[in-house]
């Protein structure tokens, strides 16, 4: 990514915690309110026209981050600057005209579409709600978008249940692209799909990104998929970004011990390369009672004294490659 690359989204010190409902006995005994620290001080830029992947294990806060960035969730603190405009504190009404700038595609193509609405009507609604075009142009727009995502024109008059999984995911992408967003957030868009269908969707996203200079935040836990699609990769662990770099940097020269372990844990496609021992033992700690120091320290093979005491800062180690680990201080 060159120095002058334009920032489409700037996220600064973003925090999103979910309070855990307290039992009445806890309230009476004045036990402190606990919360899940889903996104805990994340600073991250997304450049125009890039595919940035966000990887990490279940529950580390990937979806919460994405949803907070587009204000589906209200942040506790921090700033979100979208295309030069600070949207952190905008009201629902002020947000509405900006909503079309960022659209989301979800993991499950089955539950994210309204089953009682024909595809054509669904798309029409998007065009009209967001004032994309004159009513007489809507039909043409629908045809264009269907073509863009590789669906046939008769899709207009069919219900989501009449499509295969991959086609349904295309419908979700068509709906998201209908409003010409600048940012597309794809939250595990291929995890539920078979290999042959996954390939269609990955190709499609890559083509669309090139052709329409879309910016994509691609969330996934599949490192092969991420390697294939992403320009840059951000690695998240327990609510924090621990490493960020170009895809090549991350895979060829992982700096954070967790990134290294994540890569080694992905099953190798070469059966001659089998290890006897797992890359790491144990589970990630709970996002509720987070110990001080580096969040990975308990599982980290390199942990030093300082790791259990002080939280490492994200630092640029080589140009464009940042990492939060005491090994590098």
């Amino acid at each position: 990514m060159s120095e002058e690359a334009k920032k489409l989204v700037e996220v600064k010190h973003l925090i999103k915690h979910f309070p855990i409902p307290r039992k009445i006995t806890d309230v009476l005994t004045n036990k402190p309110q606990k919360s899940v620290k889903a996104v805990d001080d994340v600073t991250l830029d997304i450049y125009s026209d890039e595919i940035l992947a966000l990887v990490g294990e279940s529950g580390c806060g990937k979806s919460s981050f994405a949803r907070t960035v587009i204000r589906l969730y209200d942040p506790d603190s921090g700033n979100i600057i979208m295309d030069g405009k600070d949207i952190t504190k905008l009201s629902k009404r002020e947000l509405r005209p900006l909503k079309r700038n960022s659209q989301m595609v979800f993991q499950d193509p089955y539950s994210s579409l309204n089953p009682r609405m024909m595809v054509g009507d669904m798309l029409k609604e998007e065009f009209i709600y967001h004032n994309i075009c004159k009513p007489e142009e809507v039909d043409k727009k629908i045809s264009d978008i269907l073509e863009k995502v590789g669906l046939s024109q008769d899709a207009k008059d069919r219900f989501p249940s009449e499509f295969s999984g991959g086609q349904r995911q295309r419908i979700g992408i068509a709906r998201a692209l209908a409003v010409n967003p600048k940012l597309l957030i794809a939250d595990e868009p291929v995890s539920a799909l078979d290999i042959s269908i996954q390939a269609q969707i990955l190709n499609l996203l890559k083509e669309l990104q090139k052709e329409y200079s879309l910016t994509i935040l691609f969330i996934s836990h599949n490192l092969n998929v991420v390697y294939y699609i992403a320009d840059r990769v951000a690695v998240m662990y327990l609510g924090k970004i621990v490493e960020l770099g170009t895809t090549n940097d991350i895979y060829e020269n992982p700096l954070h011990p967790y990134t290294d372990i994540l890569i080694k844990s992905s099953p190798n496609l070469d059966p001659r390369k089998r290890e006897e021992a797992p890359a790491i033992n144990g589970n990630p700690p709970s996002p509720i009672d987070i110990p001080p120091g580096c969040r990975f320290a308990k599982r980290c093979p390199f942990a030093m004294d300082i790791c259990h005491k002080e939280l490492p800062e994200l630092k640029e180690i080589t140009p464009g490659h940042t990492c939060a680990c005491h090994k590098y201080s």
Binding site: D194, L202, I229, T247, S265, S266, L269, P271, N283
Partner: protein, 343 residues
Amino acid sequence: MAKEIIKDNDNLLEVNNLNVRFYSNGREMKAVNGVTFNIKKGETFGFVGESGCGKSTTSRAVIRLLAENAKVPEGEILYNGTDILKLSQDKLRKIRGKEIGMIFQEPMTALNPVLTIKKQVYEQFIGTSMTNKEKEERAIEMLRLVGIPSPEKRLKEYIHQFSGGMRQRAMIATTLAANPKLLIADEPTTALDVTIQDQIIKLINKIKKQMGMSVLLITHDLGVISQMCDRVAVMYAGYFVETADTLTLFAKPRHPYTKGLIDALPSTEKKNSSLMPIKGTTPSLAELPKGCPFGPRCPYCEDKCVNELPEMTEIESGHMVRCHFSYKLKNASGLISIEEGEQ
């Protein structure tokens, strides 16, 4: 040659010409079609294929755990020489759980939420002459073997007190407590995180070695196959279309569908090229084509394929393919390359 392998008395399980049909809404669905395979003692055999191709149905048929609307019109399932399809319910129960253990994808549904882990492990010992002390020792040993810390304490807990990875471990521990000779593992890691998946893969590999157990592994993930299996069968629309040892299958795929899966898979070598999706969709199991089931999507399809179902044919020792034109893939590239004579 194929016949000879089948008679080999190293086989723990031999499945011959297994067919399974489902009946619903007046339609007959051909879910498993003429499936033949064997698993040797101490071997891990894998089924791989996309959603709905019949992997779970085939493995459930092996222990006769099929849905009510299923029928097995034809086939033979020899476990240590005994035909499971002909066993009385009583004898079947003795084999199920004791001789053949099964782990399912979602451990919550397989483990009982109102019983402690201890009780569930103990259930595996019913019918043995073990004393309570022996049972407890064995249960603790199993939990320790699967890597659950402080097993004495965890034994008294309930499944909801375990994390996802721990539940899958607990499930494996209860299944293995009975010391089964064959473990059927249906997508044992699909719902898990990569680091936990890695732990479970290594764990099953280790236990298999220690106990000399055989494993039937079901997955749609070629990476998991790569790391666990000695031999693999690729399934498509209820048919086995290719079987080979894992290395051969990955390096020299000879069925157009296997080759299609490999070309569609994002792997490190493909960063700058497009993936090649397999065109079209899977056929309905109620209306399978009369010829090759893959014909409608196959780039090599000719008249012969439309009219005639290809037989499973051994093209090289231990490498079987169901395709009229597999010779056309003789020089096809695989996921990995191997040297001449390696294997």
